[in-house]
């Protein structure tokens, strides 16, 4: 990613200003399996510790895994490495697929084959044979 893109776009990783702020005040806490890096530093207006994430790739909040989501929003204070290990029945998290090729298509959508269920106004044609 070029420096110009860093200045003029906001949808991939940190913006120029956030990067500067992070370098000055942020302390790296850890990173998740997707490569997103988590920081903390200072306090917010309520006096709570400030926590933030810099995405590796698209700035899509659904790409934060649930354990880091808990830390990021102050639900837990410990980092996910100190949490008990994941249960065997827990499925891996999945980011929002809307807009991607894997997005859900209802039966009947052209991308899903276009075979829709019978609806109002459909008729059964007569065939002589």
């Amino acid at each position: 990613m070029g420096a110009l893109a860093k200045i003029f776009t906001w949808w991939n990783g940190a913006t120029f200003g956030t990067g500067l702020f992070t370098r000055r005040f942020g302390g790296r806490v850890g990173s998740d399996s997707l490569g997103n890096v988590y920081f903390k530093g200072g306090t917010d207006v309520h006096g709570n510790p400030r926590r933030w994430v810099i995405y590796a790739g698209a700035n899509d909040a659904s790409r934060v895994p649930p354990e880091w989501h808990g830390w990021l929003h102050g639900t837990i204070d410990v980092t996910p490495d100190e949490l008990p290990p994941a249960r065997p029945w827990q499925a891996p998290p999945q980011p929002n697929l809307t807009g991607s090729r894997e997005a859900y298509r209802p039966a009947g959508a052209l991308e899903a084959g276009g075979k829709r269920a019978a609806a109002t106004g459909d008729y059964e044609a007569w065939s002589p044979n």
Partner: protein, 662 residues
Amino acid sequence: MPKLKVDGIDVEVPAGATVLQACEAAGKEIPRFCYHERLSIAGNCRMCLVEVKPGPPKPQASCALPAADGQEVRTDSAMTKKAREGVMEFLLINHPLDCPICDQGGECDLQDQSMAYGKGHSRYDENKRAVTEKYMGPIVKTVMTRCIQCTRCVRFAEEVAGVEEIGAIYRGENMQITTYLEHAATSELSGNVVDLCPVGALTSKPYAFEARPWELKKTPGIDVMDAVGTNVRLDSRGRQVLRSLPRINEDVNEEWASDKTRHAVDGLVRNRIDKPYVRVGGKLQSATWDEAFQAIARAAEGVTGNAIGGLAGDLAEVESVYALKTLLGAYGSSLHEARVDGALYDVSQPASWRFNPTIAGVEHAKAILLVGSNPRWEAPLVNTRIRKAIKRGAKVFAIGPQVDLTYPVEWLGEDIAALGDLPDALTQATDVIVIAGMGACTIEGGYGAARQTAAALGAGFGLLHTAAGRVGALELGFVTEGGLAAVAAAAPKLLFLLGVDETDLSAFDGAFKVYIGTHGDRGAHAADVILPGAAYTEKPGTWANLEGRVQRAERAVFPVGDGREDWTILRALSAVLGKTLPFDNLGALRAKIAGDHPTLANEGIALSGALDVAPRGGDVSGAIVYPITDFYLTNPIARSSPTMQRCSAELLHGETFAEAAE
């Protein structure tokens, strides 16, 4: 003529009117559940309470209180408001609050009136009463917990439908409405209780959970299931007619409709002809319009005069019959026939084929003679009028096989020869009506004998037709001397069929048959070329009912597939055949019809002149056979309808569909 004051407004009502009617005359709305104009007064819902002076110092049920001179009625007082709120609270005690899953939602009297006259909140904490569902047959779905015991359905079944099968059992809070032994209601008018029910206790079974009233497009239409010409409202969503409900027309159907009228509409999306077919090597193959027209043009080459013929079927509307008649006329042919059921009657003047006493006029008869007619199946709404006449003291005599007509009948025999030996009670009666059915007209000389009997009795004479399109085609003169047999004897080389499905076409084996219709039925299987037409909901059309009453319908939905309005098919075909018809749009066509046939120019009954002397009579004999053998399956639309098939199987052939008790 009592004069009274309603909220300070002076009104004068006819003697015998009720306070509720007086309030309506003054323009005041009175909420009600049990009161219905066409049923007897029950007075058990108490919603119509008003304050009346002079009288006891308490609100009174206005529906059951006769209006009297000098009464002062208040519908806007604090006492009336409080009384209504209290009654509504009582009604809602045991009414479930399941409007979101109730089919009546959006067209529910209780919903509307609780909004307008209720308290707006509930003070009731106890458990609600629950009632088990009752089985009422293939048309009526029941959710009896919602019932508020207005007994409209009970009164309708007894008074109008004439089947004492719906009733109430137990008392007080435990009262339940049910059919006798939970059998299906055997009336062909049972669908009307769905409209009458002010709540969602009785709803339409075929229409259950199909649509909400506000998402439907409402189109005024005319029903073609029988010759009565019931005025209907066609409710459609998208491209499908979901239901057909009666419109009020006091002269025709009052506010009733038969079950066939209501529920045959699901046949409109089944078994449809949606593209042209041409018979190649003995097999029907789908074709384009152009190929089909070329096939007809080849068959029409060198054919002129009466070698071309046309038959108009039971459902054909005036426009298409006129277009076909004009096309045949261009070939110099007058070989056309509308009486495709083989009946023969005088077609010299409109009065000879119309139902002259008029449907509403039947009510005022003192004696009625039915000759070869089963009105319960051929025209259920004429049958209700005969019931009304009986309530006023009329006597009914009938010639034909004995059937249950829902009222007492004196049967004179199965042979039409019984016309020669009528009982004194009939010959000495005044205000007599003779109703001749198609069962009499299919007997040689039967029509003449019935009409001569009517003339001898000084009676009104009416022909009870069975097909919606018949009278319109007769008014157009779409007949041939000698009827269907004469057309067959002329052995046409090219024959046009406008939806002819009830006729045995084997007599026309030598003809090249062009079928214009909607459903793959008898006519389509016999045809050489099939052109997809429009069903009655799919075209703006004109029909004349059995009285000769001209009624126009609008288009609710478009024809399926490649289907077109029938007259436009004939217009397009005429251009290919080189005999272009002289009209390009519906307006021009209707102007032409009005010019040639003034009786069809305007809606309503055009005067037809008095019936002249009976044609011929004498002794005729022959056992009468009624034209309809299965009420629910009389036309291709009904035969394609799963609801009508189930009605036929369950109500007429005794198959059991009742769900097992849960």
